[in-house]
Amino acid sequence: MAVNNIWVFAQGANGAATTFTLELLTKARSLASNVSAFVAGDGASLAGELGKFGATKVYSTGDLGGRLVGVAASAAMKALIDGGDKPDLILFPQNYDGRDTLARLSVKLNSTVLTNNIDISVNGDEVVATTPIFGGNVLFATAFTGAGPHLASFRPKSFAAEPSNGAAAQVVAVAVPDTGVTGAAKVTAVHVEESTGPKLDEANIVVSGGRGLGESKNYGLVEELAKLLHGAPGASRAIVDAGWVPYSYQVGQTGKVVKPSVYIAAGISGATQHMVGMKGSKNIIAINKDKEAPIFAVADLGIVGDVHKVLPKLIEALKARG
C-alpha cells in the first residue's frame, strides 16, 4: 500500500494555525501528493494558511459545543473513513488533544499507534517512524504492519515548517456523530495563564531551573536571568511536580521541547526526561555542583559550582553591562 493520501490533525490558536501544524503539513507533503488537514473546530478560518503549507483540503467540524476534542474528533474521523474517505496515514501532534484523538481513533480502527516520533519515512509500502529513546542516545525505528490508516504522533520541532505557497485549502464541513455516553464530559470554563516575555518554545534563549535551586523562592534568580537575556524561564519536571512553577514551564519529555540558540540549565542534573526536551538547543550552558551530573555530557560550557553563587554574580555582571 503506497502512501498517497495523508491527513494532518491541525490546530489553531488565536486565529492562526499553530507552528506545530505547519511543521506536520510540511513533512506530509514531502511524503504524498494528497495532503488534507483535519480541524476539530473552525477550519474555514485557517484554510488560507493550511493551503499555503500544502493542504489541499481542510475538514472542519465547526464549534464542538464544549465537547472534548478527543472523543468528538475521533468520531468524526471514523465517520469519514467509514464513508470511504480513507487516508493511508494520519499525522498527529504529540500534545493533549492530539494524543486523545489518536488514542480514541486507534481503538475505533483497531490500529496500532506510534508516538513520540521525530521522523517518518515511506519506502514503497513500508512506513517507518523513528523515536529517540534513552534520552535520545538511541534512535528506534518501527514499521507499521497491517493495513492503514497508520496513526503516528510527533514531537514539536521535529520538522522545519516551509510554505509551498499553495492556494487556500478547500473547506469540507464534517459532522460529529452522536458520541453517546463517551461524549459526556463538557468543558464549562476556559482559563488562559498569561505569561510575559517570549514563549518558552519560541524563545531564542531559555534559562531553566531545577531541584539544585534548593527552594522555590530561588526560582526568582532563573526568572531574573531570563528577563535580562530577553529569554524565557523554564523548569525541570522535578520542580514542576514540587509545585514551584506551573506545568507550562516544564521542559522535557512530558513538557515542552525547546531548541533555542542558548539553553542555560541551572541546578539541573540532566535526567533523561529533561534532556529529551533540550538536547536540540544550539548551545548549552550548565551550572551544577555535582561534576558527575549527566547534563555536563551535553553542555558546551559546564560550570561545576553552586547556582546560588554563580547566578547572582552572572546577573550582576549582565546588569553592569547595561
Binding site: 537575556l229 560550570i303 552572572l314
Partner: protein
C-alpha cells in the same frame, strides 16, 4: 458519593535510576530485574484513596499487566491503601503494543466489576506511549478526562481542571468516567509499616490474557515491528570548569561570543 468504587491502573517498571537497556534479540525494553511501582502511578493511587475518603468511604482496587508475574510494585500500591489487585500476567503478553495493553487492562477492570471511576497516569515513565488511558476509556465505552491536575467528586459527577496548551479547562463529567492524572496532582503517601504488613495479605488475582478473552496479544498482536535500532549522533561535551568565583565571567564571554548579548 458513598461506597464509590475506584480502579487505578498501575505499571510496574524497572527502577528508572538504573540505565535502561534493550533485549538484543527482540529489541524490547528489558524488564527482567525487580520492578517497582511507576512513580507516575503513585499519584493516581493517592488520588483514588483521597477521593474515596472524602466521599465518606469507598473501595480502591488496582489493575496491572506484566509478562512475568511480577507483583512487587502492586504491593506498594496495596500498602498505600488499595484493597485488592488484578494482575494480568502471561508470557504471551511480551511485546504487546499500547492498544493491546488497553484491551487487556479493560478486561482486568471488568473482572473487578465496572467501577464509578477509573484512574490512570498520563503516561508511563519507561515506555511513555501516552495513549493507554484514552484507549482504555474507548474500549470500556467510557467518557474520559485526561491530563487532570485537580479532581473533585460532586454528587455523581467529577469536576476536573484539565491541563491545556495555554492554561487549563474546567471540565465536568457524570460518573462513570476515566480520568488520567498528571504528576504532582497530589502528594503520594509513604506506605506505613502496618500498611506494608497488611499488603502482604491482600489478594492479588492473577489471570492470563486468554482468561480475559483478549487475543491476539504480544508481538503477534502488535501492528508494528522493529525496523532498526541505531545510535544517535552524540552531542559532544564542551569545556567543563570548576567555579573559582569567576565562572560567571566565562558565561558572559560565552554569550558575547555568540552575539546574543
Amino acid at each position: 458519593m458513598k461506597g464509590m468504587k475506584i480502579v487505578v491502573c498501575v505499571k510496574q517498571i524497572p527502577d528508572p535510576a538504573t540505565p535502561g537497556s534493550l533485549d538484543t534479540s527482540t529489541h524490547a525494553l528489558k524488564r527482567d530485574g525487580k520492578l517497582i511501582l511507576d512513580d507516575s502511578d503513585a499519584y493516581g493511587v493517592e488520588m483514588a484513596l483521597q477521593l474515596a475518603a472524602s466521599a465518606g468511604g469507598g473501595e480502591v482496587s488496582i489493575v496491572s499487566m506484566a509478562p512475568n508475574g511480577e507483583m512487587s510494585g502492586m504491593r506498594t500500591a496495596l500498602a498505600m491503601g488499595a484493597v485488592r489487585g488484578v494482575l494480568v500476567s502471561d508470557p504471551a503478553l511480551a511485546g504487546s503494543d499500547a492498544l493491546t495493553t488497553a484491551k487487556v487492562l479493560a478486561g482486568a477492570v471488568q473482572k473487578i466489576g465496572m467501577p464509578d471511576l477509573v484512574i490512570a497516569a498520563t503516561e508511563s515513565t519507561d515506555g511513555y506511549t501516552g495513549t493507554v488511558p484514552e484507549q482504555l476509556a474507548e474500549v470500556l465505552g467510557l467518557p474520559s478526562v485526561t491530563f487532570a491536575k485537580k479532581v473533585k467528586i460532586e454528587g455523581a459527577a467529577v469536576k476536573i481542571e484539565r491541563q491545556t496548551e495555554s492554561g487549563y479547562d474546567e471540565v465536568e463529567c457524570p460518573l462513570p468516567v476515566l480520568v488520567s492524572v498528571t504528576a504532582g496532582v497530589v502528594e503520594p503517601r509513604y506506605p506505613s509499616f502496618k500498611g506494608i504488613m497488611d499488603a502482604k495479605k491482600k489478594e492479588i488475582v492473577t489471570v492470563t490474557a486468554a482468561d480475559l478473552g483478549v487475543s491476539p496479544v504480544g508481538w503477534s498482536g502488535a501492528g508494528q515491528k522493529v525496523s532498526s535500532v541505531t545510535q544517535a549522533e552524540a552531542r559532544k561535551a564542551g569545556q567543563v570548569i570548576e567555579d573559582d568565583g569567576e565562572a560567571h565571567a566565562k558565561i558572559v564571554a560565552f554569550l558575547e561570543n555568540l552575539k546574543v548579548i
